[in-house]
């Protein structure tokens, strides 16, 4: 009998939880705030679903019930992607070591 593809996705999911577990424990506590903002940004990869939904409409009816939700989700996810990565970058720029010429 063939294995249902769902099982493969479930395996990826479970293994990723373990990867997440070990990777996040190694994050230094002083970077916990950037961790939250960057996880925010990457979870907005949900935008791929939104793009599929938005583009599924036909040319003569760009805004049907389903694609409108796609467009709304694109906007929200885009806010998060740009906002999340940029604010993380802004924070990380501030973390500096000693010795090097302090301003």
């Amino acid at each position: 009998m063939e294995i249902d593809p769902f099982i493969f996705r479930l395996s990826i999911f479970i293994l990723s939880i373990f990867i997440g577990y070990y990777v996040v424990w190694s994050v230094t506590p002083s970077l916990h705030t950037p961790l939250m903002s960057v996880t925010n940004a990457i979870s907005s990869v949900i935008i791929v679903g939104a793009i599929v939904a938005a583009l599924a409409s036909s040319s003569d009816n760009i805004f049907n019930a389903s694609s409108i939700y796609g467009f709304l989700a694109i906007t929200l996810a885009a806010v998060n992607i740009f906002g999340g990565f940029l604010v993380t970058q802004r924070m990380l720029q501030m973390y500096k070591k000693k010795k090097k010429n302090k301003k």
Binding site: V23, S43, V45, A54, F85
Partner: protein, 467 residues
Amino acid sequence: MISANLSAIFYLVSGILFILALRGLSSPDTSRQGNYLGILGMVIAIAVTFLSIGSFSNSIIYVFLFLIIGGAIGAFIAFKIPMTAMPELVAGFHSLVGLAAVFVALAAFLNPEAFNLGSSGNIKIASLIEMSIGAAVGAITFSGSIIAFLKLRGIMSGSPITFVGQHYLNLILGLLIFALIFYLCKSQSNIIFWTVIAVSFLIGILLIIPIGGADMPVVISMLNSYSGWAAAGIGFTLENTALIITGALVGSSGAILSYIMCKAMNRSFISVILGGFGADNTSSDAKDKKDQKPVKSGNAEDAAFLMKNASSIIIVPGYGMAVAQAQHALRDMVDKLKKNDIKVTYAIHPVAGRMPGHMNVLLAEANVPYDEVFELENINNDFANTDVAFVIGANDVTNPAAKTDPKSPIFGMPVLDVEKCKSVLFVKRSLSPGYAGVDNELFYKDNTLMLFADAKKMTEDIVKNLE
């Protein structure tokens, strides 16, 4: 147009890049590079999505339009937001992820053909379950984060809102969602799907309203975790590896952060997941005891004198520093002290502030080198051979009652041993107890000097007196 197999491989690549982005955060040196890898992963995921669709109708113009609008708003916020507002920003972003998950689930439900999930009214049962879970968790994340945002922003009072039977109501609503999803599989009805979303929305609100303002570090981490699980649910629906990997990463990341925050407050994980904490009713008792104990209070001159004659100082920042925006003044003060060859370090309790790592970001903003900033377990032994502890805007995290008084609501919570210093300076606006409603016996000790003032004002005055 690229094949489904090829795009699946690219989604895997972007998932791996996201893992590396988090890995980079293990040290500030590698973190910036990690962030770029994360951005690269996102670009790949989006590009592959366009390529895999291949044929475009005119709607692509609108896709880019909305992408640009959202991106511009996000970029604007990212550049304008003050660092002290980071907790509410993160809460706000969580709500957007949650709402986006709800919208994508709705789009998939209304147009399952676009996602190869069957046809309208005849969606595959497995997909239906996945998308309703995604939508439900997304709705909980959305409304919960909105409440957290309002509380952090001060629009809504930070005090817990509780009523009788709260937990039972949440339980019933939770079971109701399962029943509705079960029924949805049979009926495939639009109204049921909307009801699932509406009930989840209500649960999100009910989960967060009973939680007090200072417990926000746990709440934010918890919502972070929820937003990950919502994304993973949608990932299963869309059969998208990048989304599944990311959802799992974010979900476990948030869960670990909430675990760390719980540990730091000595609360059980379960009680946090269920919500409803932060409503300790012990404050009235503490208020009675407080009244007429003698307190030594001083002014900036006394504080400056004490610090000038010290050889080592540890600074303990807390939420009060964030509220008063005192981090830059603090940095000026430390610069002055260092010129006098005084050793100055910073001690940070995991739950200081309103979100994990809150204090570290503020100190980094004020150009404090990160290797002068220490976590609780790395610095707690140093208090005993330090001359002065300068506590600015922190309270409960220094309270020795957590070690000595089994009746105290915060008993068992790890605290910073500031009382072991030769003298303690407390910058605080009044004698009022912290969020736990517990009086701090440190205020009445002989070697404690209370500096009653706004944290920023006091620090600036001390700087003047150090000249």
